[in-house]
Each structure stands twice: as structure tokens, then as C-alpha cells.
């Protein structure tokens, strides 16, 4: 860990908050992608079985 001196709080909070936001954005995007893909497959399957 580098010695961040008196600005440690500012630097660390910047990194923690930014990384949290980036990870949250990725997780939300991937989860919604999977959810919508599964739901569409289900609807398409239902449509085919109904003719």
C-alpha cells in the first residue's frame, strides 16, 4: 500500500466510490441482460407451442 499521507481519506474514498459505481453498473447490466434473454426465450417458446 503506498503512503498516501494526509490525503489518504480523499484518495481512498475516490477509488472506493468509483469502483463501487463501476461494479454496480456492470452487475446491473449483466443481470438485466440475462433476465431479458431468459424471458424472451420463454415467450418465443410459448408462441411456438401455441402455433
Amino acid at each position: 500500500m503506498p503512503d498516501l499521507g494526509k490525503y489518504a481519506e480523499a484518495v481512498l474514498s475516490s477509488y472506493v466510490l468509483s469502483i463501487l459505481l463501476i461494479v454496480a453498473m456492470i452487475v446491473v447490466s449483466v443481470r438485466r441482460s440475462r433476465k431479458v434473454k431468459a424471458a424472451l426465450e420463454e415467450i418465443e417458446k410459448r408462441g411456438k407451442s401455441n402455433g
Binding site: 494526509k6 484518495v11 475516490s14 477509488y15 468509483s18 459505481l21 453498473m25 456492470i26 415467450i43
Partner: protein, 249 residues
């Protein structure tokens, strides 16, 4: 070689981006993690800013992407207005939350850096203010998409909003040059002269090289997320159409 408009076909877009997505995502991960580790652990403190200089590895790339995301949305919106390709309207919709998060990161890291360096979290400086307005435009753009049920109407109205918001995206980028006042400094990294090393304000390579790696990482992350989220929007649109057809039968 095929025309770029082939990718306006949703199936073609999904097939192509499916092939590209793992590569772009892997490159984004390597550049982003590598750049941030390099910047955080292996760069020296600045003689004026101390260790807060490490915040540039988040602040500069996110601010850059906040503006570039809106510019990408502007191009996609214009394509929708002129050519009525659904994929372009959906790509603009997909990019908006990413741009909003980038703007938020730029605002947060700027405030955290500003407190010890300027002695204030916030100042109604031209660049800061135009960035805040850009963030509000992102929120308004997303809210408008969510509020309108008809996809084509939503695409029309959000495209117009995007055109209006572009003024603030451009102002965010050039506010320092236009007004030449306020606390925020002008560009010292991307300026052509600085890149050639002929100005006194040039950022040292010790900081600039990892910064460029981080910028590449943010750009690649944006591309990967736009691919993924546009695929999702295309599928969601098809899902809504199929459900509407089911209800009719």
C-alpha cells in the same frame, strides 16, 4: 465489404456484438485494472497535489466518457431521426445510464479532490456547473424513455432531448476555454502541444502513460457495456412486441 447499415439489422447486430463482446470485455478489464493499479501503486506523489494526483486516473477518464457517451448518443439519435433504424435509438438508450454513471464519478471525484486542493467541495464554476447540468440531462433522458410506452415516440422525443443536451455536453468540454474563468483548469493532457512536449504545462509521462491506459480502459468498458445493453434493449423491444401480439390474440 458490407455496408455499416447492415448492423442496423437487430439479428446482425446481436450476432456481431456477441462475437466481439468477450474480446472487448477482456481488453477493458486488463486496461482498467492494469491502469488503476499502475496509477494507484506505482506513481509518485505530485509536488503540489501530493497523493491526490492519483484521483486523475478516475476523474479524467470518467469526465471524458461522460461527454463522449453523450456524443455517441447524439450520433445514434441523428441516425434514428434521419434513417429510422431502431438499433441506433436503442443504442442511445443503452448508453445513457453508462454516461450518467461516468458523469457522477467525475462529479464525485472532482468534489473529493477539490476539497483539499481548492478548499471547497463545490464551486459554481463554468465547467462544474455545465457538468452538473449534463448529469441532469442524463437523468431527464432516461426518465423520458421510461415514461413513454410507445417505443418510436420515446425514440423521437429522447432524440430531440439529446440534441438539446448536446449543447451542454459541448459546453462541459469547452467551458474553460469559452469563459476563461473559474477554478477548473484547462486541458493539459489531451492538448496537441502538450502531447508533443512543447509546453510548460505538459503532464509528466510518469502520470500521463498510466492515465492513457486508464482512458483506454474506460473507453473499452463503455463499448462493452453499450454492446451488452443494446442487445438487452433489442430483446426487450422484441419481448414487448410479442407480448402485445399475445394480448391481441
Amino acid at each position: 465489404m458490407g455496408s455499416i447499415w447492415e448492423y442496423a439489422n437487430p439479428k446482425k447486430f446481436i450476432a456481431t456484438t456477441d462475437r466481439l463482446l468477450p474480446w472487448v470485455s477482456a481488453l477493458a478489464l486488463v486496461a482498467l485494472v492494469g491502469g488503476l493499479i499502475w496509477g494507484f501503486f506505482f506513481t509518485p506523489d505530485d509536488y503540489k497535489q501530493g497523493s491526490t494526483v492519483k484521483i486523475i486516473y478516475l476523474h479524467v477518464p470518467s469526465a471524458l466518457m461522460a461527454i463522449n457517451a453523450w456524443m455517441m448518443m447524439l450520433v445514434a439519435s441523428l441516425i434514428w431521426i434521419v434513417r429510422r433504424h431502431h438499433v441506433s435509438a436503442l443504442a442511445a438508450r443503452a448508453a445513457a445510464p453508462i454516461g450518467a454513471v461516468m458523469t457522477l464519478i467525475a462529479l464525485i471525484t472532482g468534489a473529493i479532490w477539490g476539497q483539499p486542493m481548492w478548499g471547497t467541495w463545490w464551486e459554481w464554476d463554468p465547467r462544474l456547473t455545465s457538468f452538473l447540468i449534463l448529469f441532469l440531462f442524463y437523468l431527464g433522458y432516461m426518465a423520458l424513455w421510461a415514461a413513454i410506452e410507445n417505443d418510436d415516440t420515446a425514440a423521437d422525443l429522447t432524440s430531440i432531448l439529446c440534441l438539446v443536451g448536446s449543447v451542454f455536453a459541448i459546453l462541459s468540454r469547452y467551458a474553460v476555454n469559452f469563459w476563461n474563468q473559474g477554478l477548473h483548469q484547462g486541458s493539459s493532457v489531451m492538448r496537441a502541444g502538450a502531447m508533443m512536449g512543447d509546453t510548460e504545462e505538459r503532464v509528466s509521462n510518469v502520470y500521463a502513460v498510466p492515465l492513457f491506459v486508464c482512458i483506454a480502459g474506460f473507453i473499452l468498458l463503455f463499448i462493452a457495456l453499450v454492446f451488452l445493453r443494446t442487445q438487452t434493449e433489442i430483446r426487450a423491444r422484441r419481448m414487448r412486441a410479442l407480448l402485445a401480439r399475445e394480448r391481441m390474440n
